[in-house]
């Protein structure tokens, strides 16, 4: 068995692959690095599979919290892991848009599924999951409700600022002047989409485009992004666990390579 762990800034994910490379289990816990998130997600996945740590031939950890986790054989960046996870599921994929809790990345893959180019957002939280968390708080709703809210109508109000702090003030002003919550959420989605397009342009987007990370669960956000980039976006069944999946796939490859090297030796 092979274990991939992705310790993100706001969630922890784990994926188990069997010896043949089939996905055995995947779990998400919505708390990330610096919390008990990784312990909880491992507890959940072990419970679901009746497995324990010694059962794993190789473990790879990725994500923002990868440097502080000591239970893995190796740490690899989330960029490489997302590329591996996506190309495992979608061999024709050439571009990945990953919007997580704290950062946004656009990754371009070559025909072999290897990273060819990538761009990340800067320190600021604009256009990331954290941005949506702040907006959900201002709109007095759960982050999961944002997508449905945006889908309730066609109106939108422009949110011109991409800075989380300024956008928060702008949203409050819009609500104060009578804009509907639905129109504001739509405006927020469009604002984030415009920000992400900047990263896409710097990377050079090529179809098939896959979106990963928690924000991919916000269907109206994905729609806004599709309109901006002018290409369809494919959403995996479990977009949050793609990094962990990639880590598990790499763990299996690493184990097989090590085994081959030993045999050759």
């Amino acid at each position: 068995m092979f274990l991939g762990i992705d310790i993100g800034s706001s969630s922890s994910k784990a994926v188990i692959l069997d010896m043949e490379g089939n996905i055995l289990a995947q779990e998400v816990v919505n708390i990330g690095t610096g919390t008990k998130g990784v312990e909880l997600v491992l507890e959940q996945i072990f419970k679901a599979t009746n497995l324990q740590m010694p059962a794993f031939k190789y473990t790879i950890v990725t994500g923002y919290g990868r440097m502080t986790y000591i239970g893995a054989n190796m740490q690899i960046t989330e960029i490489t892991c997302h590329a591996k996870g996506v190309s495992y599921l979608y061999p024709k994929a050439r571009s990945i848009i990953d919007i997580g809790g704290q950062d946004a990345k656009v990754i371009r893959l070559n025909v072999s599924g290897q990273v060819e180019n990538f761009q990340m957002n800067e320190k600021c939280a604009a256009g990331t999951g954290r941005f949506f968390e702040v907006m959900a708080r201002v709109l007095n709703c759960g982050i999961n409700e944002l997508s449905n809210l945006a889908g309730q109508g066609n109106d939108s109000v422009p949110i011109s600022s991409v800075c989380t702090v300024f956008a928060e003030s702008e949203v409050i002003s819009q609500l104060a002047t009578g804009a509907s919550r639905q129109a504001v959420v739509k405006g927020i989605n469009q604002s984030v989409a415009k920000r992400i397009v900047g990263l896409c342009n710097r990377t050079g987007l090529v179809p098939d485009v896959i979106m990963t990370g928690g924000v991919a669960l916000n269907h109206n956000m994905v729609k806004a992004l599709e309109e901006e980039i002018g290409m369809p976006i494919i959403i995996p069944e479990s977009p949050q666990t793609i990094g962990a999946l990639g880590a598990a796939v790499l763990a299996r490859e690493k184990y097989i390579n090590n085994l081959k090297n030993k045999t050759n030796y």
């Binding site: 923002y64 440097m67 690899i76 960046t77 960029i79 490489t80 290897q114 990273v115 060819e116 990340m120």
Partner: protein, 380 residues
């Protein structure tokens, strides 16, 4: 600890403790000290006056006094200099020189006499257009003005012979520095990105004649060791400066080698060779006139892209790493131009936006490690 480690540790110690280092040099040489703002200043004239030129390239200072004079979005090196000036860090200097290479420096030049009145400042203007002979003559006249201002400030005459000798000392220093950055290619482990930077940085706080002798000693000791190899990307690094230390550690951890640099703080200071004809002052002027690929000087046909491509090819580099200081206008204006040229030649670029004072380097770690994984393709 072996001889090489001892010598390197001494440079590290000096680079980490500029004030203590300068104080020690002042005591051992009996010299006074004079501060030199980035990017280029006529250090040779200061040295000829028997005074120690001290490079003022910011520091790990995060204060609030500077906010009264320079906005938070300005260059972190300039903000640190101003903050340190206002905190009294530079009170031991006999004066400072501030050139006017960018808008922030112009603002500092105006604000310094008000904010730090007890540390006298001599302004310096370099010619931006360097295509005519008049530019060289203007620069020579500027050097003479500076010499005269410095003589008045120090109440001391600087002879032509002193300037000639000083220029020779600096030329020997520049030759040694060029050899040093070349040596990194053969000893990338011993002279990893951080150590390479810190050794170069230490030159800002030392007497150049003594520093050159010590650097040569280190280089000779290193050459006795077997050559080294590291498993990681070979890169040309470009920008204003590559700091702080923990930022450079990320490159070291991921096995990078800085095969060459185009940093204002490093090779741009010593890569241009002096002409063989003329007086020392003339040679100093023509070194600046001949300097190419630096965004702090106007170049109609920008040559930085060609320079970076040449370096990348010469050293078989895997990529060019751009250290973009927030929000350095001259560097930012240059980027789209040389990026296009590098893209056309299929040279990989890693663009990193940095500040001199950074508490967290987690995002940079992901970029630098991912780029290494991408380049080395060791995982995929």
């Amino acid at each position: 600890m072996n001889q090489v480690e001892l010598l390197i540790n001494q440079f590290l110690e000096e680079a980490r403790n500029p004030k203590q280092t300068v104080t020690n040099v002042m005591v051992s040489t009996g010299k006074k000290a004079f501060g030199c703002f980035p990017i280029y200043v006529p250090e040779e004239i200061i040295y000829a006056a028997g005074v120690l030129p001290v490079g003022m390239w910011g520091g790990q200072t995060q204060g609030s006094k500077v906010n009264a004079y320079i906005q938070s979005f300005c260059c972190s090196i300039m903000r640190a200099n101003m903050e340190q000036g206002m905190a009294g860090t530079y009170d031991f200097l006999d004066g400072i020189i501030i050139p006017t290479f960018c808008d922030t420096m112009k603002a500092i030049l105006a604000n310094w006499p008000v904010a730090v009145p007890h540390v006298k400042v001599i302004p310096f203007v370099y010619p931006q257009n360097r295509t005519s002979e008049y530019s060289a003559q203007f620069l020579i006249s500027q050097f003479r003005n500076f010499q005269s201002n410095l003589e008045n400030l120090l109440s001391k005459k600087i002879s032509e012979a002193d300037i000639e000798n000083s220029f020779l000392t600096y030329e020997k220093y520049r030759v040694a520095m060029r050899e040093f950055v070349e040596l990194v290619n053969y000893y990338p482990k011993t002279l990893n990105p951080k150590i390479r930077h810190m050794i170069i940085k230490a030159s800002n706080f030392n007497d150049k004649a003594v520093y050159t002798k010590r650097l040569r000693h280190l280089m000779e000791s290193i050459k006795e060791m077997p050559q080294e190899r590291v498993h990681g990307p070979k890169v040309v690094i470009t920008g204003l400066m590559a700091e702080p230390e923990q930022f450079l550690d990320l490159f070291t951890e991921n096995g990078y080698t800085f095969v060459a640099d185009d940093l204002a703080h490093e090779s741009r200071q010593f890569r241009t060779r002096a002409r063989s004809e003329g007086t020392a002052i003339e040679k100093m002027a023509y070194r600046i006139i001949d300097l190419r690929g630096c965004p702090f000087f106007y170049e109609e046909n920008k040559s930085r892209g060609t320079l970076l491509k040449t370096l990348a090819k010469k050293y078989n580099a895997d990529a060019v790493v751009v250290c973009m200081f927030k929000f350095c206008d001259p560097e930012e204006f240059d980027y789209p131009v040389y990026k296009n040229e590098l893209d056309k030649d299929g040279i990989n670029i890693l663009y990193l936006e940095i500040e001199q004072q950074m508490d967290s380097v987690a995002q940079l770690r992901t970029r630098i490690q991912s780029f290494s994984e991408m380049i080395m393709n060791e995982i995929n």
